[in-house]
């Protein structure tokens, strides 16, 4: 076994790992979703649909779209991760 003073084994807690994974993977998914969505739809034309009096600039439209997707994908990832981690372990129970 290698002497530990040479190797700083930096260890993230399970929760920290889960949060980092959820934030990062949902970010990537949201980026892809934003790219595809706004390649098809122009935020300026979309804002016209809602008959809103506010003039939405494209920058703001892109940002709003991105954060909308990010929140959505993050919720999805977080719930999935939580369910996977808290699933009852049937086999372990049976063995006692």
């Amino acid at each position: 076994m290698i002497q530990e003073e040479y190797r700083g084994t930096r260890q993230w807690s399970r929760n920290r790992q889960a949060i980092a994974i959820v934030v990062w993977i949902s970010f990537l998914s949201a980026a892809i979703a934003t790219m595809v969505f706004f390649a098809l739809f122009d935020p300026v034309e979309l804002s016209g649909i809602f008959d809103a009096d506010v003039d939405i600039s494209r920058d703001a439209g892109y940002a709003a779209g991105f954060f909308f997707f990010w929140v959505l994908t993050a919720i999805c990832s977080a719930v999935t991760a939580w369910l996977v981690r808290t699933a009852p372990k049937r086999d372990a129970k049976r063995r006692g």
Binding site: G8, T9, D59
Partner: protein, 463 residues
């Protein structure tokens, strides 16, 4: 290929309850020079490319506010999105191809995470010194010296991060205007926000998270083993030659002592940025940066042993078999790549530099005019993807005697411009009844090869 799952360290209770940081030791050598070269080249490209000029405008500009991408002389529109998608697929396949061939060279030399971490480690070394000095400084109580060293590191890191954020946004907004705007605080809110956002991400990822990103957050690190086989180039420790390991004096004969070539100096562990021991076999944390090869080579030189106890090799050749570079997996990846690349180039080369969109007025079906004429209303959108002004001839077909009203025969569209053209189409009611299919055609006046047709409907009264 068995990628050793080091379960004790990754899951559950840590075998070593330390939350220390990793202090990678600096190491000179062939691969260190290669990685420095890669870092400087790639970072240099990233920071310089937005400043390049082509035809009086930014050579590479993904102009999101204008919804146009400029790549040298080429202008891409949202309608060209399939090209971008195809380009991303090609990029992914290229990564697979090189992974199968050369292992994780991407991770060790080209991944932004590695490249920026490397740059941040340089700044750390300039301000806080070598590995030993850094460890000592962290343990020492706060002093003027510590404050000065830590402070200057933070200053360097923060300014570098902000410059990185600014450069990143400079790919999406004209960079030459963005710089002065940011300095005078007149830049748009979102441009400022994304600059800070990206700066923060760089600072956190390259300054603090570093190898944890590769270990816990990177999907590629987890699935790269699927592209590995026994002939993939990996960094490995020659166990047959190295074991049994043990310390000895430089003059001693290892064979007489019953020892292998490994002197157990642990340098290979000290230099590892992800903190693994390569002698335990291939592990998924290994990002193939080759720092351990440099470390081991330097020791072998000192001991006057041949180099290569830790080296780039393949599973086959470590076991004593022959390695095959050309194998089915490589052929399949190469063939797919060639196919996609040819497809992309051909479709881009033959793309018609004009787009015609026809939108039928949704508010009215048709209008009956005096003289037994029927009228439908349309809006045409003509997009000229070329960079110079062009003239186009417009025509309509599909109903006998149909003609356009309210538009000239020839329309002029500026380079890279969109022309919105509301118009009326008229036909005699004897010819126009029910739903008729019609076509709008547009062709370049000076270049007959540039022509597109778009289908639409013409509505008339039921006969």
């Amino acid at each position: 290929m068995s990628v050793k799952a080091d379960k004790d360290r990754v899951h559950g209770a840590p075998m070593f309850a330390s939350a220390e940081k990793i202090y990678p030791r600096e190491m000179k050598g062939r691969f260190d020079r290669l990685s420095k070269l890669a870092t400087i080249t790639l970072l240099g490209l990233f920071y310089l490319v937005p400043w390049l000029i082509w035809d009086d405008r930014q050579a590479f500009l993904f102009d999101l506010p204008a919804r146009k991408f400029y790549l040298l002389g080429l202008t891409l529109w949202p309608q060209d999105f399939p090209y971008l998608a195809m380009l991303l697929v090609i990029a992914a396949l290229t990564l697979f191809f090189f992974t199968a061939l050369l292992g994780r060279v991407w991770c060790g030399f080209a991944c932004p995470q590695t490249v920026w971490t490397e740059a941040f480690i340089w700044m750390e070394q300039w301000t806080e010194g070598t590995r030993k000095q850094r460890m000592k400084l962290d343990k020492a109580p706060w002093s003027w010296n510590k404050l000065r060293r830590k402070g200057s590191k933070q200053l360097l890191w923060l300014s570098f991060s902000l410059w990185t954020g600014f450069t990143f946004v400079g790919y999406f907004t004209p960079v030459r205007e963005l710089g002065p705007q940011l300095l005078t605080l007149t830049a748009g809110n979102w441009a400022t926000f994304w600059t800070v956002f990206y700066a923060f991400a760089t600072y956190g990822n390259a300054g603090y998270m570093r190898e944890q990103v590769c270990k816990y957050m990177c999907p590629y690190a987890r699935f790269q083993s699927a592209m590995f086989d026994n002939d993939t180039l990996i960094i490995s420790y020659d166990e047959i030659r190295g074991e049994p390991r043990g310390g000895r004096s430089r003059s001693a004969d290892p064979q007489a002592l019953g020892l292998g070539a490994c002197i157990d100096c642990t340098l290979c562990v000290q230099v590892c940025p992800t903190g693994i021991d390569i002698r335990e076999g291939l592990q998924y944390e290994c990002i193939a940066c080759a720092a351990c090869i440099d470390a081991c080579d330097s020791v072998m030189d000192k001991m006057k042993y041949p180099r290569g106890l830790v080296r780039y090799s393949t599973e086959s050749s470590i076991k004593g078999d022959t390695s095959h570079v050309l194998r089915p997996r490589i052929y399949v990846y190469a063939a797919l790549l060639l196919l996609l690349f040819t497809g992309l180039v051909t479709s881009m080369a033959t793309r018609t530099p004009i787009i015609l969109d026809v939108i039928r007025d949704r508010n009215s079906l048709y209008r009956e005019l005096p003289g037994d004429m029927v009228e439908n209303i349309y809006t045409l959108k003509v997009i000229n993807q070329r960079n110079d002004e062009r003239s186009f001839r417009l025509s309509i077909d599909g109903v006998p005697g149909i003609e356009l009203d309210g538009v000239p025969d020839v329309v002029v569209v500026e380079g890279g411009g969109v022309l919105s053209l509301p118009l009326r189409a008229r036909a005699h009611r004897d010819n126009a009844y029910g739903i008729m299919n019609i076509t709008f055609s547009i062709s370049d006046v000076d270049d007959a090869s540039v022509a597109v047709t778009e289908n639409s409907r013409f509505l008339g009264p039921t006969p």
